[in-house]
Amino acid sequence: MPDATQPEPIISVRDLRVRYGEREILHGISFDVLRNETLVILGGSGSGKSTLLRTLVGLEKPSSGEIWIKGSNIAHISTSELNQIRMRLGMSFQGGALFGSMTVGENVALPLREHTQLEDSTIQIVVRLKLEQVGLAGFENYRPSQLSGGMKKRAAVARAMAMDPEMLFFDEPSAGLDPIIAAGIDNLIVKLKRAFRISIVIVTHELASAFLIADRMVLIDKGNIVAIGTRDAMRTSTHPRVRQFLDRIAEPEVGAEMDYLQMLTNDSPSEPR
């Protein structure tokens, strides 16, 4: 599917910088997400990949740079304009972020109740349909607390899909799940990708699922893009940083150990009297 037709970006990120207080997390990032492609953002812990995702859905304000989504620069639009765009996207959070005070069905129904004029009976049908799509048929009256981790993620996907979004965002879809359940979530994403014309952006550090799901990949390290390309291009890349990440080679720790030793010797409290 990648590069089949003329590549038309649905999201364009240009020289994006994000800072929390004094600390800059993203140091000028540029890339495109093409229509109907699945882009995986890979990166280690603390690489800034989650911040990037949060910025894409407007939860963090960039300190500079541009994010064009469907022709609007969301770095410089009002909240109501941003909300118009948000109606066209779905986000699945790491822990699911289901509302604990509502049932699973009410969670999925919420965006429909708030943003559409649909009849209640229609909403019920849509909810059942969405839950069936993620393999949770018959669970609409369960509370989120009664679901396992994998089921919560599936329910969160159903909620993200409720408004038939054009863009779907996933934050660490397989985090905290055992390999079998995680593979189930991967299969679900592949199924959604095949079944719907939808652009998907996934943040993860799971290599296996990344290579299974992705059309293209972006590797982020310390707030910069190291490499960007199709999954085959990534697999055969000779870039040392890419190889290190893909071949799971640990960071050389000698320097860190020396620092640690120095810290111990310098800061250790004097002998007890």
Binding site: R54, L59, G95, A97, L110, P111, E114
Partner: protein, 265 residues
């Protein structure tokens, strides 16, 4: 750090906090009063649900506490009044202290403990589990969605609870009045009604509405300013209670002074 610097920083932080509260309160008021006329309907079902939690479920404990307070007020009043042989003034002493001051105040204290803390814990937990973020990405305003129903429930339930608290306090006073001050029960109630002016009750109710707004604003503000991690929820809950108690007393002082200086006979 020098003392002046500390005082300056403290004052600045306090003012920032009050500014944040005012902003949150203002936005909640906007979504309660203005937005319904602009096509954003109120969530009455949620407000009713909150009102049950804030109000109806507080009745047993509030009744017990204010009944005891009524007895205590009668005992303390009688201790002084009997020196002058004016034990029959016990009814009016209890009635006026209850309606003007202790009814609204004790209600506020109970509501802070039950609901102010719960608001902070609920919103704080939602912050930690990214539910607030989820609301935002679904194009739902967290203040409209979470704060407005609480605001509405509190503004409505606080005066109701206060009326009940006044009544229970007077009932508590009558226990002493009937058993130890030579009143009959109808006689005690008559003495109470003779002593009370509508102004006493209304001033207490106005206070209670102000308390309700303060408690909601502080509880929700603390909830929204919860940082990452479960222990932060505990911190928010604690400071919601402490700050609410302080601000309720401050608002109480302000309005008591206001009523005193504007309500001269």
């Amino acid at each position: 750090m020098s003392v002046t610097l500390r005082i300056g920083r403290g004052t600045l932080n306090g003012l920032t906090y009050l500014g944040g509260l005012a902003q949150l309160g203002g936005r909640a008021a906007y979504y309660t009063v203005v937005a319904p006329f602009r096509g954003r309907p109120l969530r009455l079902d949620r407000a009713v649900h909150q009102a049950m939690a804030v109000g109806v479920e507080a009745l047993p404990i509030l009744s017990l506490i204010t009944f005891f307070i009524g007895v205590i007020l009668a005992l303390q009043g009688a201790y002084e009044l009997r020196k002058f042989g004016a034990l029959h003034y016990v009814a009016s002493a209890v009635a006026i202290s209850m309606t003007r001051e202790l009814g609204p105040l004790m209600t506020a204290i109970v509501v802070i403990g039950r609901s102010g803390s719960a608001f902070a814990a609920e919103i704080g937990t939602m912050k930690v589990t990214e539910e607030i973020d989820a609301l935002e990405t679904m194009a739902l305003n967290p203040i409209q969605f979470l704060v407005t129903p609480k605001f509405l429930a509190m503004v409505f339930m606080m005066p109701c609870l206060t009326i009940w608290a006044d009544f229970m306090g007077i009932l508590g006073g009558s226990l002493f009045g009937v058993t130890s001050a030579g009143f009959t029960f109808p006689g005690y109630i008559n003495a109470t009604l003779d002593a009370l002016y509508l102004r006493d009750i209304v001033s207490g109710l106005i206070k209670s509405v102000m308390f309700g707004m303060t408690i909601t604003a502080v509880g929700c503000y603390e909830g929204f300013s919860t940082g990452a991690g479960a222990e932060q929820v505990g911190r928010s809950t604690t400071s919601a209670v402490v700050v609410s108690i302080f601000l309720v007393i401050a608002v109480d002082l302000l309005f008591t002074a206001l009523f005193y200086f504007t309500g001269g006979k």
